[in-house]
Amino acid sequence: MAGTWLSGQKGDAGGMIVLAILLGMLAGIGGFTFLYAEGFSYMSDDPKVCVNCHIMQPQYDSWQKASHHTVATCVACHLPHDFIGKYYSKAENGYHHSVAFTLQNFHEPIMIKDKSSRILQNNCLHCHGALVHEQIARAADGAGEVQCVHCHRSVGHGTPTGLGRR
């Protein structure tokens, strides 16, 4: 078949068939990979999703032991609360995490990025803003400002001691 279309005698119909087969394979393998990687689970807010790849296991474990586990899940603190912001941030973080986990080239211990740190701060204020509005008048927008977790470091993941990093 390849010989036929390469000779140019019967147009490129043969080529189109090859392309179609390849596209079909791509869609099939791609779809399978997506399902196998539990791609749809990432649309949910379940904290278990965050330990799909096992890198976050200590963070997940320590969250279960920390004071906020009854009132806040991973996404409650780490993603914006508005719809667009949430899914944009989810996609952005998801992309970074996938690349990092696949290439295995990230900094350890895992450290929060500035942007995510601001999201976190805003989420502290989302619940506690009324209590602290005297001290912190506005949403987080830059480096060097007071961070709630600077002092209240243990609320999300407990005191970092003993087994493993959090």
Binding site: D12, G15, P58, R166
Partner: protein, 495 residues
Amino acid sequence: MMRKSQRGASRAVLIGVILVVAVATALVTALLVNIFERKSEARNPYVRLTEVTEDTTDPAKWGVNWPKQYDSYLLTAQTTRTKFGGHGGSEALPEEKIARDPWLKRMFLGYAFSIDYRDRRGHAYMLADQEATKRLTKPQTGSCLHCHASVMPLYRELGKGDAAKGLAESYKFSYQDLSKKLHDSGNAHPVSCVDCHDPKTMQLRVTRPGFVEGIRLLAASNAPAPHLPSIERWRAGSKKTPYDPNADASRTEMRSYVCGQCHVEYYCSSQMKLTFPWGKGLRAGDQEKFWNETKFADGSRFFDYKHAETGAPILKAQHPEFELWSQGVHARSGVACADCHMPYLRDGATKISDHWVRSPLLNINNACQTCHRVPEAELKARVETIQERNFELMQRGGAAIVALIDGIVRAKKEGATDAQLQPALELQRKAQWRLDFIAAENSMGFHAPQEAAMVLGEALDYARQGELAAALWRSPVKSAAAASAPTTRKSASKP
């Protein structure tokens, strides 16, 4: 012509698209395989390909089942240097400590450490270095193998199945004789997997009879042990069965206990079996009290050696890392030895303890920054500040010990008898014990900076008191002669 070139162009585009799609498919497949690998890593932390038992001392056999841990264990053969640790010498042999610090040599005269005492090397060398040391030109006992070889099968053989009995036998052998037995039995390996891991479950466990007996003594005493909650729990219980670290201790405590099997002070010579002096507590003063109340089989007073120049009955400190750590803020905060010296290492989707046991200063990122969110350079500077201050205080202690020994030697020349010099000799024992306690300890004071400074302060005080006592041998000063612990000592030993 025109049609032909158009068809050529569209064919080129088609081929291009096919190539792109093919490459994309290949990449997606690679991703799929990558995800599969990570998933299987997470599912099977290890695969037991070969059977290992209590008698498997060869780490290479364990390495078949646990290659990641084994690979990092092998790295202990690498030469590492920090400002105060393992820093001198060639690749072949580390530098002599006693040449760098002559007061060490002076202090150890009459003991084999004055012949050969070098910077430390990694775990991989523990047996080879012991077999090569010039200390073996003097008679040495089989007790030394407790901590330099994977010796448990040999202990069981000596004790007819009971390792504790085997240990009690081992001091009667010369080092050379027991070493030959070790080699003949095929267990001539440095510390190995089986020494800290249960071969069935891979659980951490302690095996060394010396530690098991020592920690029992500690539990049975009323010395404070707030950093070891399982001991406090055992004390609050019925105490019907003796404290058993393997049954009673938490996982976090086990991550220190396994190291405490060897990184401790102990008696290791030919007069009696290897003994951990923990019956009155872990502090330098507590251990001294234990040794002072210990008698040899013939009823004579315990000592490690008689000083060659003065004749003082000296206590030699081994390497009390576990004990000094016990007095520090890290121990009190629940941080175990392994947390800093064997921090977690991620490999793919699995997490293992780094078995390249080494100074945390060589691995600040994983060892310190897990808890301390401060830049590496700053953390390193903090540690080195502590160590430098400890080093300076220790050097002053060295000068004071030399002055004390000089003073006693001078008094002897002037005709002082041993009885007249008794106070000075007693003070030499006290001062040297304390100075050596910190000098032999392998953290340059970092494991517990305040405790280290206090012990060094006491060493300095006793050394200068001794110097005074030697100078005044004709008319001894009563207070110096008594030289017992100051009254504040007791209250100071509370946590």
